[in-house]
Symmetry: C2
Subunit: 414 residues, 2 copies
């Protein structure tokens, strides 16, 4: 089954919001054997929406529209769908009662505009939106299914999971698909491709490979399409197993593994604990770690020491080191790591200190200069980086680099 | 000038990465008076790319393609562009020398696949990519400009800023445009629209309004298109000024204002300081705060106390409160806020404690239960929330709610 996603709304086209909905839908559909042929973002504009519906109708079996179902005037999707399917709006009592109930539970008065949301096209199946006031709508035209959903992410997600996918699966029109991703670090895209030249030449025709480079890692994605899911999984697993002897030293995880989760598993398996001291990363490193469910088994906590006073008072960094080497130095990074490790009594600790920017740099220590220290049973080590001028990117790269070094040292020492 | 963005690459269509590039390009183009008509994501597939190029050619003046320029086999954009523009590849010496130089600087051997990146279509203007090995390419066909850029975000961004926009502006084909966004809190989309009914009826025809609801705020976007930029700015400002007497109490900021930045400005103006104690937000609240450039003027630091031991030892939370009320309670939240405020000697402190999930809930305190406390010169206050089952969303909403309450209390007390 081939599908297209059409997002409706000016906010994506002026760059005010990022289209995370489409990525989520695409992922869910792929996991369920529905291939996404195209994703299109169009304006809240009648003609533009009508043209996109026609074009998609000619190309695919399934069209999912998101957005433009709100109660305000700029939301024109419902009226445009009526025009496209040559139908009219009618009052839908179950939807009305649900909206009334939502407002009663929230102790809010129900306005005229909300009442209008209970008007739905005659020629559609209403999909119940338990989380919001705009229902989903399911249309069919020729062999193509059209589904219109609200753009609010958690409403849309619930409708896809609990209404759309169950109905599509029971229609029996889906096809088997399998994706796996190998996560590598410490090797560039081209070098990886050259090492894998021979392996790529021996891929079965139904398996495709893509290299996905990122700032901290190169991901290698294997995809297979066919009829038997079990066969595809087996084929891809065989090719993945062949990778270990060729590039095993660079592989740190698979699929959705996050570096913080990989580090957490290493600690958990060995019964070790971790604490963190942050300056330039300002809490982001601790956030990455605490995004891992169950991290309280191996993570005790952190201190963000944005001022020197806090570095001294809470982490026990010496005034001497701050004066002699400055807050952004290997010495202070080491003292921060050792300070938090002893304060929270953990086996490992990692610390960051640097100049995230945009201000605060000097000729000697330009914006982007970052020191990372890892303290563990084998002692303390510090590493220097010079990233770039962008505050947000420097924070992310510093935190990721800290996790990378921590991972390597845990493996080395245990 | 009307433009389209085409992103090339299977990774977006399988939902493996989110298309942040298009949002960034759309924002930059809008700021420069170029309207984005459509954003389309297509496969690394020759026919699909060719069809998208033809369709876009008939609709707009400018087509920007990103992705598919890497050195590996799955990258077919360059060859497909040669086919579309009926041209061939030739060796481009400046690009070759630049690639050679990049590899020399990184102390890496230059591979065969990288050498191929210096082959560029005869019929194009090469755009210098200082940050990477794949050059940008500028083509013209009829009245339409086609620009192909690498998909790596920082390479693409540098090319747009330093090559594409200067060339487009000097071509004189751009049109005036103005967008402003009003950020509101504490009022729903429909209630806001009903309050603004009369105001909307009196909008000049060239000004459009959109309501952008989110989990924590409703944004109101005003857009105007025309010939004179000064006139548009003036018109939109007049309509924005009219909003203050109608919905002023709900407005917390404008345009790209972030709640943490708004809170920071309130503190800075009053010469006050802030510290943070986190449990369920795990560092994310501190991360939001330290994402504000220059925050060290008013932010001293934080403690993430993931274990009770750390809550007691570092924040001075009493064993009694932990035993009697549990770690997730108003009492412990208050003691955390007061503990960090006195440890770091700040004017204000905010604390979070809760059950982010997916595990750890009970009948009494389900997953999503969160307590937030704000401590300031006027004493300490705690607020209870029950969010949902999603760990990531609970972390974000807890941190945003903490900032909201902090903002309200700073205004109230000062």
């Amino acid at each position: 089954m081939k599908a297209e996603i059409i997002t409706i709304g000016d906010e994506i086209l002026i760059g005010q919001i990022i289209d995370t909905n489409s990525a989520w839908i695409a992922e869910q559909f792929n996991l369920n054997g529905i291939e996404i042929y195209q994703i299109t973002s169009v304006h809240d504009d009648r003609i533009h929406i009508l043209e996109s519906l026609s074009a998609a109708h000619d190309r695919v079996d399934l069209v999912v529209l998101t957005g433009g179902l709100g109660p305000t005037r700029d939301d024109i999707t419902k009226h445009t769908l009526c025009e496209y399917f040559n139908t009219a709006l009618q009052f839908h009592e179950p939807t009305f009662l649900h909206i009334e109930n939502l407002f009663r539970n929230r102790n809010l008065p129900m306005g005229r505009l909300n009442r209008d949301q209970a008007m739905v096209p005659v020629e559609c199946t209403v999909l119940f939106n338990r989380n919001g006031t705009a229902p989903g709508m399911w249309f069919e035209k020729g062999n193509t299914i059209f589904i219109s959903l609200p753009g609010v992410p958690f409403e849309m997600k619930d409708l896809i999971s609990n209404e759309v996918l169950p109905r599509l699966k029971s229609s029996g029109r889906t096809r088997a698909i399998c994706h796996r991703t190998v996560l590598t670090q410490g090797i560039g895209e081209s070098a990886l491709a050259e090492k894998l030249d021979n392996w790529e030449n021996n891929l079965p025709p139904e398996v495709k490979v893509a290299y996905l480079p990122g700032p901290m890692a190169v991901r290698l994605r294997l995809s297979a399409y066919g009829d038997s899911e079990a066969q595809l999984i087996d084929q891809i697993q065989k090719k993945m197993d062949e990778l270990k002897p060729i590039i095993g030293e660079y592989i740190y995880g698979y699929d959705d593994d996050q570096l913080a989760g990989v580090v957490g598993n290493l600690l958990k398996e060995r019964g070790l604990t971790l604490s963190v001291a942050e300056s330039c990363t300002g809490g982001y490193l601790s956030h990455l770690i605490t995004s891992v469910p169950g991290c309280s088994q191996w993570y005790l906590g952190s201190v963000t020491a944005y001022s020197n006073k806090v570095k001294m008072k809470v982490l026990g960094v010496s005034e001497e080191a701050l004066n002699k080497f400055g807050a952004v130095s290997g010495e202070v990074a080491c003292e921060m790591a050792e300070g938090i490790k002893s304060a929270l009594e953990t086996d490992y600790a990692v610390a960051t200190t640097g100049i995230a920017g945009p201000d605060g740099g000097s000729a000697d220590k330009p914006v982007g200069t970052v020191w990372i220290a890892v303290s563990g049973p084998g002692g303390v080590r510090a590493y220097k980086f010079v990233f770039d001028k962008n505050r947000g990117r420097n924070i992310i790269r510093s935190a990721q680099s800290a996790l990378q070094h921590l991972r390597r040292i845990i493996i080395e020492e245990n």
